[in-house]
Amino acid sequence: MMAILGVAIMLLSILLPGFLSVKETRISAALPVSLASFSVIGLVVLLAVSGVTILLSFGGYYFLMGLAGGLAPVYGFFLAGSSAVQIASETGPFARASPSIGLWILLLAGYVVVFAARRKLKDKRILSSLLVLIPIASFAVLLGSGTLRELAIMKEYANRSDRFLEEMARHLLIAGGAVVAGVIIGVPLGVAANRSPKVEKPVFGVVNFIQTIPSIALFGLLIAPLSYLSRSLPFLRELGITGVGWAPAMIALVLYSLLPIVRNTYSSLKVIPADTVEAARAMGMSRLQVLGKVEIPISLPVVLAGVRTAAVQAVGNTTMAALIGAGGLGVFVFQGLGQAAMDLVLLGALPIVALALIVDSLMQLLIAILTPRGLVSEVADD
């Protein structure tokens, strides 16, 4: 059913009047360009892909179906890129060709089809994560080939390529650092909450409460105490800890990552049957062997599922950190919003989405590899 919806969206995207939009300069009015008007072959291919997707769906070939759906938007970008090259050579160097509603909807269609396929492939986690990783890798190849160089968003990139890589690295560092710190703090908290009801109540009270604070508000709340600390303790200032910048961002992101990690650690230990642990002890395993051979193998997949949630969430939330001067890809988003330059917004937003998807799939792959065969169905997917 979902696959059919995806194909319907795909057909809509192909037939919409605006697949691309062309502007004579960066700030002039945009003119919609339909797919049919610049690439009949592209139109036919995408129509064929729609048909094939439906057939694969009815035939039960879900992996191939997802692959077709996932690669369709990559092909759409290829078409847009090559047409932008052509437009540039005809209209001059200031012309801007941008993906328009049609291409975005095609992207949505691809996402829906992949999502439908992944739902069907629930038990085959490796195939399921490949369905995200293969289209993203193909897109990376397309980026590298230069076909997309004349698209407006790539021109924005070309103007800022050094800055882009720097902010991307920063983004990953902040998000990754926050998750690592979240694991270091969250796993012991989860274990403690499981061991003692006295710890359980306050820990969950606090982490649940943090989760309800909007991220901007939390960044704001941290500015005052951190500025005070930084003023009164010079060594903190020397470390670069001030009211704005990476320090409050990191603290906020660590706090956010705690809930999924603490919650999953806590429930992963609940999953371990008491009988199983007793049997292990009674068979003469040492405390360490019980931990290594029984408790960790059973609980690890659930803990990692929490880390997965935390990581995806951190990649998204790091965007907001740009507002308090922490940097990251959010910088482009907010700059673009300020200048009403949508292409610049996209230069920030698209990589963030892609990063979130990649992190999600890689974590899923890792969990699939580390989950013992006997436990596969017991670990919740999301």
């Binding site: 049997a279 009674a282 059973i298």
Partner: protein, 364 residues
Amino acid sequence: MIRFENVTKEYDEETVAVRDITFEIPSRELTVLIGPSGCGKTTTLKMINRIVKPSGGRILIDGEDVKDMNVKSLRRGIGYVIQNVGLFPHMSVKDNIATVPKLLKWERSKIERRVSELLELVGLEPKSYANKLPKELSGGEAQRVGVARALAADPPIILMDEPFGAVDPLTRVRLQDEFARIQEELHKTIVFVTHDIDEAIRLADRIAVMKAGRILQLDTPEEILARPKEKFVHDFIGSDRALKRLSRIPVMEYIEKCETIEIDGGWDQLGMTKEEFIWALDEDRKLVGWVDVSHSNRELPLREALTEMLEEEILSPDSTVKEALSRMLESGTVALPVVERSGRFLGQISLSKIQELTRSDREE
């Protein structure tokens, strides 16, 4: 031999699980600890492998205090089966069974061989079960794997805590029978906790009836059924203890010699018999049926007067007296023949003999 000497377990002053018990569990026998919940039977069991630490007294295995033994080697030398099996959900059947051998660092090939051997012993086909996962097993199958896991390193002692408690009654009886067969073969020292008196009577060599942390009576099942020492034991056994006792007695104990007739001979074999019915045998002394002595026309050949037996009316030497009684009631007869597997006639068991013997027991 496992010996408890003045063993006490108190969690605090209010909750005393075991009160100063002293008793012996003989080697190579199956001793059942039985009693209502909270009587201390499981605590008693778990003190043997030091899962629970006694607050007083000592437990000796073959003269050595368990407290002085290395806890890991103590436990690796004691098989352990619990009610909910406690199989490791992330390991295959094979890896579950191989747990202790692996801890003992056996060679791979030896472990493989042992796993197949054990699966066969507990009645699971090694090829199809070795790689299954616990979640793919039925309750009964999981319990068999649990027994195999406990036997893996061939420990002399096995502790079982209501091992068949969580399976349906039909499967339970089958598991009990198979387990009895395994024990007959292996002769392990088994301590078996249950609250099911029928299970205890079916399996035990000796039964310890417990209440409120004390052992009220420790005896053979026959003795406990015949002479319960206290009112509690009497009540716990149930009002059908006479019947339960009969389930422990093999028919061979009550068998009587009786008159028979050779089917291919003549009526004159009978002489002056007072019997109304008589068992008919062929020349190899195999049972062929019975003959109605008083109502038959003796002019006709003997074979004409023969009535053949239904299969369920014939007892085998390992049937119990309870079974014999039940079949008599079912078929409306007062005596049934006991016949070897080969068909050879051994004798008969009669209602009057059963009554006579149970009556004399009561008068003792």
